[in-house]
C-alpha cells in the first residue's frame, strides 16, 4: 500500500550531537523491513522519526511520494506498536482499539466493524470489555497490534514489540506477527529489534545500523552469507564470525590468503593481480568450519575448551598467532577433543575476505 523513501535523513540533537546521518533507504510496498544494530545505534530514533515523534533535522522522508517531514504523526498514515504496549490503562480493549477511529470521527458502525475485524484476527473477541490490567502480557501485545490494525495504516511501525515478553511467548508472538504479515501482504511494516532471530525470521530485508549510518541493507541470507563489511559480518550470526589476519598470496577468480600463524585458505572472492601481498582479514563463520585430516587446511589449533550443546559442539581454540581466539562449531557431539590439535578448513564460497573492513565480494 505504501512506499517509503528516505533521502539523506539525519538527526542531530542540539545542533551538535549527531545521532544519525545520511540515511538513504527505499522501502517498497509489502516489505517487512527490520532495523537492527547495537544499543544506542539510533534504530529506535529512526523509527520514531518515521513515526513523526522525533523531528527530522536533515534530509527528506517520503511516504507514497509525498514529503512528510513536517506532517503530524496522525496524518502520515502510520500506526505504531510500542515496546511497553502503551495501552491506555483507563480504557477497555474495545475503547483502546477504537480511540483513533473516534478521534478521526468515523461512524459508530465503521468503528464496530473495524474493531470486530481486528479482534477476530488477533483472537481478542472474548476480551473486548476488559481493562488492560486484566490481560496477560501476550494479550496486551495483541491489543497494541489491534490498535494499529483498526486504523488500516499505510505503514506499520513496531518498536521492539516482543522485548517485554518471556521467551516462550516471544516465539509464539513472533510467529503470530509473521502470520499477520502474511495475511496482509500489501501492508508495509518496519520493525525495530535487537534480537537477531526476530530479524532473520521476520524480515524481507534487514537494515543494519551502525556508526550513525546504515552498515548494510539486504535480505537476511544476503547479510549472513555475503556481509559487506566486518561489522555486519560479526553482528549477524552467533557466535560471531571469526576474523583472522592474513596476507593475499594468490589472486584471480579465487583468492588465496596465507593466515598469520596458520595455513592457506581459498576464498571465492575475486581479486586483481595488484592485490598481491595485501594485508586482509579473513572471515569464517564458526558453523562453516570443517575438521579435516588433509594437508589443505586453514589453520591448526589446540582446542582449549569444548562446549557440547547436543546438536552442535563449540570448540574454543588457543590464540592463533596475533589473531583473536577462534571459535569453531561442529555438528553433532564431539568429546575428547579438548587439549588436542585440530585442523580446520572451510569451503571457498563460505570464506569472506575484508580489506580495510570492506568485503572483496562487493568491490
Amino acid at each position: 500500500m505504501a512506499e517509503l523513501k528516505l533521502t539523506g535523513v539525519a538527526k542531530t540533537y542540539g545542533g551538535t550531537v549527531d545521532v544519525l546521518k545520511d540515511i538513504n533507504l527505499d522501502i517498497k510496498t509489502g516489505e517487512l523491513i527490520v532495523f537492527v544494530g547495537p544499543s544506542g545505534c539510533g534504530k529506535s530514533t529512526l523509527l520514531r522519526m518515521i513515526a513523526g515523534l522525533e523531528k527530522i533535522t536533515g534530509g527528506e522522508l517520503q511516504i507514497d511520494g509525498q514529503v512528510v517531514n513536517d506532517v503530524p504523526p496522525a496524518q502520515r498514515g502510520i500506526a505504531m506498536v510500542f515496546q511497553s504496549y502503551a495501552l491506555y490503562p483507563h480504557m477497555t480493549v474495545r475503547e483502546n482499539m477504537s480511540f483513533a477511529l473516534k478521534l478521526a470521527k468515523k461512524s459508530k458502525a465503521d468503528i464496530e466493524t473495524a474493531v470486530a475485524r481486528a479482534a477476530k484476527i488477533l483472537q481478542l473477541e472474548d476480551y473486548l470489555d476488559r481493562l488492560p490490567k486484566a490481560l496477560s502480557g501476550g494479550q496486551r501485545q495483541r491489543v497494541a497490534i489491534g490498535r494499529s490494525i483498526v486504523r488500516d495504516p499505510k505503514v506499520y511501525l513496531f518498536d521492539e514489540p516482543l522485548s517485554n515478553l518471556d521467551a516462550a511467548l516471544r516465539v509464539a508472538t513472533r510467529i503470530e506477527i509473521a502470520q499477520l504479515k502474511e495475511s496482509m501482504p500489501e501492508s508495509t511494516m518496519i520493525y525495530v529489534t535487537h534480537d537477531q532471530v526476530e530479524a532473520m525470521t521476520l524480515a524481507t530485508r534487514i537494515v543494519v545500523l551502525a556508526n550513525k549510518g546504515i552498515a548494510q541493507v539486504g535480505t537476511p541470507l544476503e547479510l549472513y552469507e555475503r556481509p559487506e563489511n566486518e561489522f555486519v559480518a560479526q553482528f549477524i550470526g552467533s557466535p560471531a564470525m571469526n576474523l583472522l589476519a592474513g596476507e593475499i598470496v594468490g589472486t584471480g577468480p579465487v583468492t588465496k590468503v596465507k593466515l598469520h600463524g596458520g595455513g592457506i585458505v581459498t576464498s571465492a572472492a575475486p581479486t586483481r593481480d595488484s592485490d598481491m601481498g595485501l594485508q586482509v582479514n579473513v572471515g569464517i563463520r564458526p558453523e562453516d568450519m570443517i575438521a579435516t585430516d588433509g594437508e589443505d587446511y586453514a589453520f591448526e589449533g589446540k582446542v582449549n575448551i569444548t562446549e557440547a550443546l547436543g546438536e552442535v559442539t563449540l570448540l574454543y581454540f588457543d590464540k592463533l598467532g596475533d589473531n583473536a581466539a577462534v571459535i569453531g562449531k561442529l555438528p553433532g557431539i564431539h568429546t575428547g577433543l579438548r587439549g588436542t590439535s585440530v585442523r580446520m578448513a572451510a569451503s571457498p564460497d563460505k570464506v569472506q575476505v575484508f580489506v580495510n573492513g570492506q568485503s572483496l565480494y562487493y568491490r
Binding site: 504523526p73 496522525a74 505504531m80 495501552l87 491506555y88 478521534l103
Partner: protein, 407 residues
Amino acid sequence: MNPALQGLMTIIIGVGGCVAYFYFSNQFLDKVLLPAKGANAGRNINRANLIRPWLFLFPAIVALGLYLAYPVVATLWYSVTDRNQGGAFVGFANYQRMMAEPKFWEALRNNMLWLIIVPAASTAFGLLAAQLTDRIKWGAFAKSLIFMPMAISFVGASVIFKLIYDTRPVDQNQIGALNALWLQFDGGIGSFLILRLLPGALMIFAAALALFMAYTNAQAIRDKGFSANAALRAVLIAILGYVVYATLGLAYGAFTNVHPYGEPQTWMTIPGWNSFLLMVVLIWIQTGFAMVILSAALRGIPEETIEAAIVDGANPFQVFFKIKMPQIAGTIVVVWTTITLVVLKVFDIVFAMTNGQWETQVLANYMFDKLFRASDWGVGSASAMVIMLLVSPILVWNVYNARKEMR
C-alpha cells in the same frame, strides 16, 4: 530561665522521653517480662512479638484518645446539655436554637459555597499550573513560586490580602492593590470588556461546562443502568443543575449591574463579593498544594501512552483530557477531597479578615463565636457536631481513595 533555653529543654525532654520509653519498655519486655531464654524461650519470643506492637502504639493511642476521642464524646455531651442549668440534659434544644438563628444558616450556606468553589478552583488552577510548568526550563522556578504560599500561615496570608483589599478615602493614594486597580476603570470600552464581557463570558462558559458534565453523567446513567453509582451521579446532576442556574444568574448580573466607577470600595463589606474575596486567599494557598501533587502524578504517566495518543491523532487538548486526566483521576479526587477537608474547617481567614461580619460567616467561626465569645457551650458544641458530621464522610472517602491510589 531564658524562654529559648526552656524550649530547648522541652524538646530534649520530649524527644529523649520518647526514645527512652521505646528503648526501656522494649528492654523490659525482652529481658524481664518474657526473657528469650530458659525452658519457654520460644514461647516467650512469640508472646513478646504479640505484645510489642501494642507497647509501641500505647503512647499514640493514649494521646489520640485523650485529645481526639474524648473531646468528640465530650462535645457531643455538651451539645445536649445547658450550662445555665448547671449542665442539665436538654435533648435537642441547643440544636433547635441553632437552627432558629439566621447566622447559622448564613454560615452553612457560605460553607457550601466555599466547599464548591475553593476545591474546584484550587484543583483546576493546580492542574493547569502542573501541566503548563511540566516541560519548560523555568518550570521548577515557577512551581516554587506557586508553592510558596503553602509556607505562609492562614493568618499571615489574610494580613497580606487585607492590605490588597484595603481602602483609603478617594482623595488619598490607595495602598490596596485592588482599589488602585478599580480606580483605573472609568466606564469606557475597557471597563465593558473587562468588567462585563469577561466575567459574563466566563460565567456562561462555566454554565456550559456544568451543563455538559451533567449531560455526560446523564448519558452514563442511561448507558450503564441504575446502581449506587447512578444515584451518586443523580446527586451530582442536581448539584450541577444548581451551578448552571447560579452561574447564569451571575452572568446576567455581570452585564446589568451598575458599577460605582471612581469610588474606592470597601471590599470586605460588600455582601456577595466579600465571601469570594476571602475564598481567593485560600485558593491562593491551596493551588500550590494541588499543583505539587498533580505535577508528580502527571510525571508518573507513561510517556508512551501519550505518544501512542499522538500517533492515534489526538491533539494536545485531547491528550490532556482523554489520556492524561483519566490516568490521574484518582489523584485528582484525593487532592480535591483533601482541600475540601481544609475548606470545611476554614476559620483563620474569616476570623482575621471579617470575623464573620457582612454575611461572611462560616461554621468554624460561628462555633468559635458561640463557644468563646457568647460562652454558649450548647450551641457552640452543636455547631461543632455539624462540622464533624459534614467532614466525616469526606474524610472517609478521602482515606479510601488515598489507599486505593497507593495500591
